[in-house]
Amino acid sequence: MEIRLLADSYLKNEQLYLDFMNDSIELDKDYFSEESVFIEESPDFPIYMGRGSEKEKSASFTEAINIIMNSYIETPREIHMNGRFWHSLMITKRDYLFDLYGQLITSHKDFIRIIMKPFDWESYIYKCVLAAEYIYDTKLESEEEKQYYIQLIINNIDMYNYIIKYSIFRNSHFILNFFRAVDELGLTSLMKAKIKNRDDLGKDERYGRRVFLELNNNYPVIMAPFLQKDELKKEIVKALANYIDHETLNKIGNIKYN
């Protein structure tokens, strides 16, 4: 299927927004370029998880990651890691997206925020594409395991956002290993929590982020991205011990700390 790519300046083009809203998009308008890419299939999936209950958000994430994993990530990375491609694809899904999000869009700015969000870690499509790649590349045996990892990422979305900003940890093996280790240690809630009584660390410091900072500082003497799960658990607990005492940690998690 041919997807005509938008022209370079499409983000600034208000006509694109107006035509999207009025269902009058046409290929000869100047927001389109002459370039196309071809993909085998292009099923619909939700692209905005910024509204609704936690349950609804989680369901949208799950649907998006599954569909992207099944239909999009075998394309060359030049295609599926390119924001212009995704935004051009979204234009072909006008009716589907308008039904879902039309009511949320009352300005060009809303249109950018919901449909054309720049393709970086803040974009829901970007997050889902990476998650789909990471899970797919791990070559899991069963469907249950795939779904387990999808839920792990969604339940830890704050930490996941934090990781994908830092290139050192952007690796399939490490990310899945890390979330599984945290889950098995019973530390998911703690990792999301704000650190108490440490004014020296700055506002809004969370245990999970500090753990990454410690792992980052220790690299490459301790090469966290390569560690097997059990070794990684030890490093996570060691990093946490800088911010929380052993007794409390023992009470919270499945940790036998000596």
């Binding site: 990375r77 890691m81 290139s167 952007r170 690796n171 490459p220 090469m223 390569f226």
Partner: protein, 286 residues
């Protein structure tokens, strides 16, 4: 996970910039990338100058790991003697700069007691030196992997935009000098006159690009610099092409004062190539 800071290690590390070994060297080069439609074959070479470290790998006490960094990091354990790797295009793109490095990592506890290649600093303590599994034993230089396929080496790119305000415009992208024309006819006339006009476009584009190249690589307050002092892995694709071109012409010293001379040295061969391709385009009516 490309590593190029020089951290203080509490044990000997083999690298070009670390002085733990008397003959410290770990050199890595990506030689060639072959485009195989849905994947790339990447061919590389390396030299490990330490017998001790080489024997750790031969005896499976340590392993070579290839790290490829584009948007993400991928790492691959290499078999002994492995000198190429196949990467799917669905997981790596050469749109952005790709960097690669080799690491040597311990697979078990390693003792340095019998290593005879360390500098004298370690003489006293080396009998007690032990490192655990997953430690970094050595790291190579970083090699920038650039796609040198057809599109990869083109210096100029031409586009037609009928909605442009001017007949002609030069833009510099990260990869090429982009010549933008309002009308296709500007490109396809092969009369002597239009060929001369075309030469001026190419000349201007080249000058603009070289000027940017100097701008971004000159140190504040300096009048010029030497190509051999540049870290070529930090250059964008366009600047890397200029860098290669200048080196090929035997040029090393770069300054604003020599800009005109630089353009005249590199331009003739480029202009010949470009006009030739335009003429062929014209003949084939494509």
């Amino acid at each position: 996970m490309i590593y190029n800071k020089d951290a203080a290690f509490s044990y000997p590390v083999l690298s070009d910039t670390n002085n733990s070994y008397t003959d410290s060297g770990f050199n890595f080069r990506v030689n060639n990338i072959v485009d195989k439609t849905t994947s790339y074959d990447i061919f590389f070479e390396y030299d490990i100058e330490s017998d001790f470290v080489r024997s750790l790998i031969d005896n499976n006490q340590a392993v070579l790991i290839l790290i490829i960094q584009s948007d993400d990091n991928s790492f691959f354990e290499l078999e002994k003697g492995q000198l190429y790797i196949n990467l799917s295009k669905s997981r790596v793109s050469f749109n952005d700069k790709v960097r690669a490095q080799l690491h040597i990592q311990s697979k078990q506890n390693i003792s340095f007691a019998h290593c005879e290649e360390l500098v004298s600093f370690y003489n006293v303590m080396k009998s007690q030196l032990r490192i655990p599994q997953y430690s970094l034993i050595g790291y190579s230089n970083v090699s920038t992997v650039r796609n040198t396929g057809k599109e990869g080496i083109a210096l100029f790119e031409k586009t037609i935009d009928s909605k442009m305000d001017f007949d002609f415009q030069i833009k510099l992208s990260n990869k090429t000098i982009v010549l933008k024309f309002k009308d296709e006819r500007h490109l396809l006339q092969s009369t002597a006159r239009s060929r001369n006009v075309m030469n001026i476009y190419l000349y201007n584009g080249l000058e603009r690009a070289l000027n940017q190249f100097i701008n971004e690589n000159i140190e504040d307050g300096e009048e010029g610099f030497f190509l051999e002092d540049l870290d070529d892995s930090s250059l964008n694709d366009l600047h890397y092409k200029l860098y290669q071109l200048l080196l090929k012409k035997g040029i090393n010293e770069i300054s604003y004062d020599s800009l005109d001379a630089l353009v005249q040295k590199v331009a003739p061969s480029i202009i010949e190539k470009f006009t030739h391709s335009i003429e062929r385009l014209n003949e084939n009516g494509n």
